[in-house]
Amino acid sequence: MIRQNWWKILCVVLLIYTITAGFLGAVPAKDILNETIRNLYFHVAMWFTMMVLFTVSVVYSVLYLRTGKPIHDIYALEYAKGGILFGCLGLVTGSIWARFTWGAFWSNDPKQLCAAIALLIYFAYLVLRNSMTDMDKRARIGAVYNIFAYAMLFPTIFIIPRMVDSLHPGGMGNPAMDTKDIDPRMEMIFWPGAVPGWALLGVWITTLRIRLQLLAEKKLSHA
């Protein structure tokens, strides 16, 4: 576990920068989008964070299968939970944005659907784990499913949404997260500020939860 403090301070600084500059900074004036364009710093960064956490989780699952240390299983589980949290936040910030641009919180857009399905896949991971009582078996089968789910996540959120028509920015000629068409002023907040800031916050929350789990385990073994 990372015990240094510098990255926590960095995380707070980056988030303060993101939030102040994100709400006050200049943004290009566009029809329909107007000020909702600032959601880039929150909504899109949530998905980046979710992917970071899921990736770390799957790395720990692989490590668990290779070494069999129970601590890796706790890491994998907590990182997956953190990813789910940020996935939910991404969905919520997205639907709030959609309310003001598309006119409804939920409009069965393919990207909304695929994001929801991706979360269902990970909820199933938690259900699967809870369905077993044997610790060792739960950890091993959970790790296997986690790797499988991660592989299936790619078609769900990266391939299929790109193949169907969608209202979401990034398709059908809408502007999107693209290195070519992002405004340079927004780029200065998004890449150095929002993405690492939220990702660090996700890792921070997860490490706290891991510490809690480890303490609970210790208490259990001493009781």
């Binding site: 695929c114 269902l120 199933a124 089968i141 296997v144 499988f148």
Partner: protein, 195 residues
């Protein structure tokens, strides 16, 4: 085996009684839903019905890679025949709205096999956790939705009168997904196997 056959026939018959002869879109949607449920039933059976003794016997004669490979192959063939059978029954009872029947037969074969691959691996996971039948649905349905979306996109092409682009690309994605699932099953199954 006969149970699955009866399941296919009676579900499609119930559908016919409830829906009559639906339009192309509804027909297609119903067809893939039936495929999904047939797959859950047929494939789940193949794993969950193995007794402890039989598994032990397999364990003694072969390795995990061979075992999962043969399971995948068997289930793919099973689903292939079930797809063709249910396609035949669909045409017989719910009518035939397809302008391009040959294409759709091929697509449904591919679709049935893709579904069976995912469910074989999930059945292997679910069989290790006890309450398997309900677990199969919880694990499986979110995981197959991408495949089903892709399949219904592909089958749009067989239903459309005008030729649409992108068919080869989508079939390539589906095939790549299948290869991915087979590879993952081969890598991950040994961990489910040893106990």
């Amino acid at each position: 085996m006969y149970g699955v056959l009866l399941y296919v026939a009676s579900t499609i018959f119930v559908l016919y009684l409830a829906m009559g002869q639906p339009e192309g879109d509804v027909w297609k949607g119903l067809f893939w839903m039936i495929q999904l449920f047939v797959c859950v039933n047929a494939v789940a059976k193949s794993f969950l019905q193995e007794g402890r003794g039989r598994l032990l016997y397999f364990y003694s004669i072969t390795g995990p890679a061979n075992f999962i490979l043969s399971k995948l192959l068997f289930n793919a063939l099973l689903m292939l025949s079930m797809s063709l059978l249910s396609l035949g029954l669909f045409v017989l009872m719910l009518g035939d709205p397809m302008p391009e029947p040959v294409q759709f037969v091929l697509i449904s074969c591919l679709g049935g096999m893709s579904l069976s691959l995912v469910f074989t691996f999930l059945a292997a996971i679910a069989a290790r956790a006890q309450q398997s039948a309900a677990l199969m649905a919880i694990l499986g349905f979110p995981l197959v939705i991408p495949q089903l979306l892709l399949l219904s996109k592909i089958s749009n092409i067989a239903f459309a009168d005008v030729l649409q682009g992108g068919l080869g690309w989508m079939i390539a994605v589906l095939a790549a997904l299948d290869v991915l699932i087979i590879a993952l099953s081969l890598i991950l199954f040994p961990f489910l196997w040893k106990d």
